[in-house]
Structure formats: structure tokens, C-alpha cells
Symmetry: C4
Subunit: 231 residues, 4 copies
């Protein structure tokens, strides 16, 4: 899968998730401190997140696959893109990196190292949003890998740019990042009590995307053959 050993791959997953979370949390704090307009705050948050995703996936993808996301790692483990024996390590690195990212953002903005978020994100509309968001993310990754591998960093960055706006939840779509965001009481936070709902919705969306893509991305051999036979 990669010629890098496990320690380097785990550091890449941890570092990437940390930079991602530091960007999400930090840009939310920055934007909220500069403007009263919540639309503009989300815009600053979006730009920074979309941009850093392209960068991180490009530079760390060749080392670890740049998953930064337990839902993605789960799909990769199921579809044998990630060796099953590495799955646990990846999840732990992502969680540790995510928490470190929140702490780093707080240090950059002079906030307490961690704080529990008080931002409620719950209910059917939010869960459906997270399911759709993660469904789309996993579909983009699986189809991107198949059709246009080198574009995947851009596809993910652009997808999240859109999903920040088209979902009611601003598209967490990542259980480790959601956990890390429960430790900040700022713009991008989520109450710890709301995590399980998000996690379930994200995993459901990811699995749904895997099921659909397993069918959709495999050319229908029989009917193509018969269609060619007609030519």
C-alpha cells in the first residue's frame, strides 16, 4: 500500500489530523473574533478547512493514505485498502492527533488547553445531515481513487467546502474530528453528549456509500458486453 513503515504512517495520521483540527478550530475562533456576521464566520472557517485538506492529503497521502478519519479508515479496512492489523493504530493516532490539534489551536489563541463545548448539535435533521455528509465524503473518496487518484486531495477539499454549507450540521463527517471538537467551547464546537448521535450517523453514511459504490463503480460486464455485441 505504501513503502513507509507503521511508525511513520501513524505519525502522518496524527500530524495530519492535528493540523486539520487546528485549522477547523483556529479559523473558527479567528473568524468569530473578527466579524459579527455568522455567514462570514462560516466562510472563513470553510476557506481555511477546504484549503488545508488539499494540502494535507497531498503531502501526507503518500505516507499514510491521509485518512485522518475513523469512518474512512473503517471503509478502507473493510475494503482491504488498509491492513486490518493497522486499523486500531490508525484510529488511536487520529484521536490523539485531533485532541492535540484542539490544544494547539487553543494555545495559538490564548485559550485554556481544553474546555467542554456547550454547542448543541442534535436531532433528526442534524443526524440526517451527518449521514448525507459522510455518505458523500466516502463516495467521493472511493470514486476519486478509482477514476482520478491524483485529484483526490482536491476532490476532498472541494467536497468539504460545499458540505460546510449544504448540510445543517456543517458536515463534521469524521468521528475523530468530532471528538476533538467537543473539547473547544468556540464556533466549531459540539457538546460531548451529542457525539454518539453524530458518530452513528457518520458510520451509517459511510457504510451506505461503500455499499452503493461497490455496485456503481464496477462496470456492468454482462450488459456492456451485450451492448457491444449489438454494434
Amino acid at each position: 500500500m505504501t513503502r513507509f513503515d507503521l511508525p511513520r504512517r501513524l505519525v502522518a495520521e496524527g500530524l495530519g489530523t492535528a493540523m486539520l483540527v487546528a485549522t477547523v478550530v483556529g479559523s473558527g475562533v479567528m473568524a468569530a473574533s473578527l466579524t459579527q456576521d455568522v455567514g462570514l464566520t462560516l466562510l472563513g472557517n470553510t476557506l481555511a478547512t477546504g484549503a488545508i485538506l488539499v494540502v494535507l492529503i497531498t503531502i501526507l497521502g503518500p505516507i499514510s493514505g491521509a485518512q485522518f478519519n475513523p469512518a474512512v479508515s473503517l471503509i478502507f479496512a473493510i475494503s482491504r485498502k488498509l491492513p486490518k492489523r493497522d486499523f486500531g493504530g490508525y484510529i488511536l493516532a487520529q484521536i490523539a492527533g485531533g485532541v492535540a490539534g484542539t490544544i494547539a489551536a487553543h494555545l495559538m489563541f490564548g485559550l485554556p488547553l481544553v474546555e467542554m463545548s456547550s454547542k448543541a448539535r442534535t436531532g433528526g435533521a442534524q443526524w440526517f445531515s451527518e449521514g448525507v455528509a459522510t455518505f458523500g465524503l466516502v463516495a467521493v473518496i472511493l470514486a476519486g481513487i478509482k477514476f482520478e487518484q491524483r485529484a483526490v486531495p482536491w476532490l476532498v477539499g472541494l467536497y468539504i467546502t460545499a458540505a460546510y454549507w449544504f448540510t445543517a450540521s456543517t458536515s463534521f463527517a469524521n468521528p475523530a474530528v468530532a471528538l476533538a471538537r467537543s473539547l473547544t467551547d468556540t464556533f466549531s464546537g459540539i457538546r460531548p453528549v451529542d457525539l454518539p448521535g453524530f458518530w452513528l450517523a457518520e458510520i451509517a453514511g459511510a457504510v451506505a456509500a461503500l455499499i452503493l459504490c461497490t455496485w456503481l463503480l464496477r462496470p456492468g460486464a454482462t450488459s456492456t458486453a451485450s451492448s457491444e455485441a449489438k454494434l
Copy 2:
């Protein structure tokens, strides 16, 4: 044209149109809920739409051609890029997908499944805008396919990003998406009664682009030959 069978192609057209409409409608609802500034609302709507177009055309183009648009499918059917026997199926998939996209956006934001739009979009300036918008879209697609096939997802995403702002209608440029947007009474809606005017203008613009491009994109053999003869 593609090695994927018709069911997969129709699912790709439906899924892509659904994701596109969910993005257009959803990001409009999100943006309007976060800011009072209509310029900023259109900006959030634009960013999300432009970004998702690049993504959807990249990942679904290899399956179905990623047309998501009856006006484009019409041009492709006329110019034999789409088998005529598939034309009807494509249109139905796009319409069904578009409606599903509106419903999905409404579910994500806790709105009624569908509602009739009350947003008036009519009159000569609007129709001329839609004609120009669709003319440009089809010209971009036809020239892009000829000169830089792999850039087409980017070209379409960037073109629509611009056209949201340079047309008075915010550039629907898509009869199926327009229909789906008549079912939401939010920022991106259009009154059902205004649909026929938009449809006619869009088809007229698309046909005009096909006519121009048929001449413009074919190197003028005679005069080039005579010019080469002079060298």
C-alpha cells in the same frame, strides 16, 4: 462512450443531479439563515455550487458523462455524444434526482418535504440572462471536451461560479434543476409558473451554442492550407 451499463449510468445521473440540487438548495438555506446580507448569501451559495460541480463531474463523468442537465443531454443527443435511445432515460433520471435533491435538502434543514416556491423570476432580462448563461455553459462544455477534456469538471465549476454573479437570474442554466428548485420556497427557489420561460430560454441558448461551436471549433481547412502554402 462509456463502459458502464444503462442502469449504472442512470443512477449516476440521478445521484449527481440530486447532490447538485441538494447543494444549491441547502447552501441557500444555510447562508440565508446565517446572514442578513444578500450578497454574502449568494457568495455562500456560489462557493458550494461551484465546488460540488467540480467534484460531481470528476467522479461521475466516467460513468454517465455527468450531464445532470436536460439541455446538455439534448445537445449531446443531437451531436451524437449520447445515444438517442438513452435520451429519455437520462432526462427522467435528472428530473427524479433533482426532486430527490430538494427533498434531501429540506430534510437536512427540517423543512417540509416540498413546498411551492413564491420567488418570481420572469421577464425579458431574466430570460435573456438564462439564454446567455446556458449558451456559455454549453460552449464551455463543447470547447472543453475538444481542447482539454480532463479540465471539464473545473471549467464547468468555474463557469457557474462566474455565471451566478454575471447574470441577473443567477444562472439556473438547467431545466431539471430549475424544476427541482420550484419545489423549495427558499433562497434558491423559482415560482412554478416561471418555469416555461426559463426552459425555453435555456434551450434556445444551448442550441445557439451548438450552432456557433459547430463552426468555431472546426479548424478552417482551406484558409489554413493556403496560409501554410505561403510559408
Copy 3:
């Protein structure tokens, strides 16, 4: 230079300049109508202009070179990238296209076909801005063509995106577009009386870039040789 005959090349120059001006003028009208914030207005204007430049240069570059700009055509004529006998036709096509673009934008927004702009843009700071803007544009094009031909559409789109903000004049950098913008009394207009100052500054900047690039982009053969001799 291209295998397209002169009529097609002139239509490409005219169409491209028309689409460019329609975008500049139209997005300015749209943005100014949606928000009171002039910063946000320029942002909408910038996004649309940068995006359409990438598109237009990609799809029309293979036909005519996608110059859309008399200052660029002048530099190309001097440096023999454009046959001198085509220079006059290119300029006329660009001017006609530009005026058509303003008219098209006005039609889309229900304004009078043309109107004289009352927006003053004059004085040393404005002229220096235009000189810098056009210097940069021509340098980007010449270096881009030399080092990374296929990236030129992106480089020009991104350069203008930046130059809209880093110059006091919002970077017209184009005599034909400036002329066309004197015919709209909206956000992006310029008083006809201010055109000569802009034109002179733009041509001076373009020529300065040509002189610098003629030296800078040619590897210094002697000193490189002596440096290699030392290895």
C-alpha cells in the same frame, strides 16, 4: 501559431472579450445590488472575473491565443508571437467584443444599452497602479508561456484575482476592457475622460515587462557555463 483561420480567431477574440466584459460589468451590477458593503461587492466582482478568465483562456486559447487585450496583443506582435498582419484585426475584434459585452450585461440587468460612466479614476496613484498591474500581467503571461504553458489560464485568473485587491485601480490592465467599461455607469465603470491615462500606463507597464522578461527568462549562458566548470 494555431491551425485556425483568421475569421475563427477574430470571432474567438471578440467572443472572449465580450464574455469577459459581460462578467466584469454584470457581476459588479449584481454584487452592488445585493449588498451595501463595498468590500463584499468587490469580492463578488473578483470571484466572477477570476473564474471566467480561467475558463475563457482554456477554451479559446487553442483557437486565437485568448489575448482579449490590446496590450497583450501588442507585446505578442513585437515578440512575434502574433503575426503583425493580424494585429489590427485582433484589436478591432477585442474592442467590438468588449462593447458587446457591456451591452449584453446591461440587457441582462435591464439597463440602457450603454451609458457614459461618471466614475472618476485618475491621478498618479491610479496610473502607477495600472502600470504595475499590466507589468505583472504581461510578466505572468510571458513567464507562464515559457515555463508552464498549460497553467497560463490559471495563472492569469489568479493574478487578476490578486490584482483586483492589491492595486488602487482594481487592475483594469486592458485598454479594450477599459474602453468597454467607460460605457457603463455602474460599479466597474470608468469616465471616458480618464481612459487615455489608463491606456498610457497600461502600455508602459506592458513594455516594461517585455524588456525585463527578455533578459530575465533567458538563462545566462556564460555564467552558468563557468559555474558548471567549477563543479
Copy 4:
């Protein structure tokens, strides 16, 4: 390293740093003059800076490496990507270019040639921000060069786009640019007295990135071999 002689490389470094600083300073002045919203001001500043970085690195990279940054040149000198005898010249060219960029921006906006900034940027949170910002920048450059050389202009432009928002200091990440920005009393300025703290933090971050990348980017030969042996 490059087939261009030292004078051309130094001009490229100076010109590039000048254009970069003119963009940072000029877009800050422009944005602050158009809007009262500081979030929007930073957005205009960000867009222009990110865009010009992609352009400048693409067109000047083939000549000088497009470092524009003493912290980057230091890392390149240590890792033998820049001949040590050229290091001093590069730094001087970057400083001279940076100061010229501030002057050019001031001329474009009708301000005094230079003025001392009164904008305080000091304290642990700011220094940590600069350390993180420069750490990330150097890591992106080193990994980008290794894995995806041609994407480096995009990676740097996108990284800085994000870092303007995720750091409390808006990510100067460049000692020469910081110096040049101490000479403008506008949005992007920094008090001269605050420079040493920024410089130290930037160099510390750069060196930390070099140390990490030296380990991270080298595939772990032994453990990969043993892992392959198991297959």
C-alpha cells in the same frame, strides 16, 4: 539546481518578494478602505495573497526556486538545496525586494513611501502561532518537493490561505516579509519592536519542520523490508 545565473536568480527573488509584499500590503489597504468588517478585510487580504503565491512560485520557481523567504532559504541551505555561497545574496535580495514591495504598495495607494507600523503583535500566543505557521510552511514545502514537485505553488498558496485564519498572528511565517511589513502602518503592519520575537519563532518552527521531515519523509527501510518479508 537551475540553469539560471546568480544575477537572474537574485532578481527573481527580489521581484517575487516585492510582488508578494505589494500584494499583502496593498490588498490590506484596499480591503480596509472598502469595508468596516474586519473579517471581510482579512478575507480580501487572504484571497489576494493566496492567489499571488501560486502565480509567483509557478513563474519564478524555475529561475530562483521562488523562496522569497529567509527561513525557507535557511532550510534549503542546510539541506543543500541552495548552494551555501548564494545564501547571503538570497537573503539580501529578499529583504530589498520586500521593502520595495511596501513602497510600491504605498505608491499605488497614495501613502507616504514608508511609515513605522504601530500594530502590536507580541506575546506567547503570537509567537507560538508564528512557530506553528512556519513549521507547517516548511513541512509543506519539503514534503511537496518530495512527493508532488509541480503542485508546490498550489500547496504553498493554499497553505497560506488556511494559515491566515488558523493562526492568531495571521501567519507571517517569513522574516523578510515581516521586516517589510514593519514599514507600513496599515492593516498588515507589525511594530518594528515586535520583529525579533517573530523572527525567532519563525526560525524555530522552520528548524523543527526540517528535523521532523528528515525522519518522516525517508521510508523506513528496515521495517518495510521485514513487513514485506511477511507477505
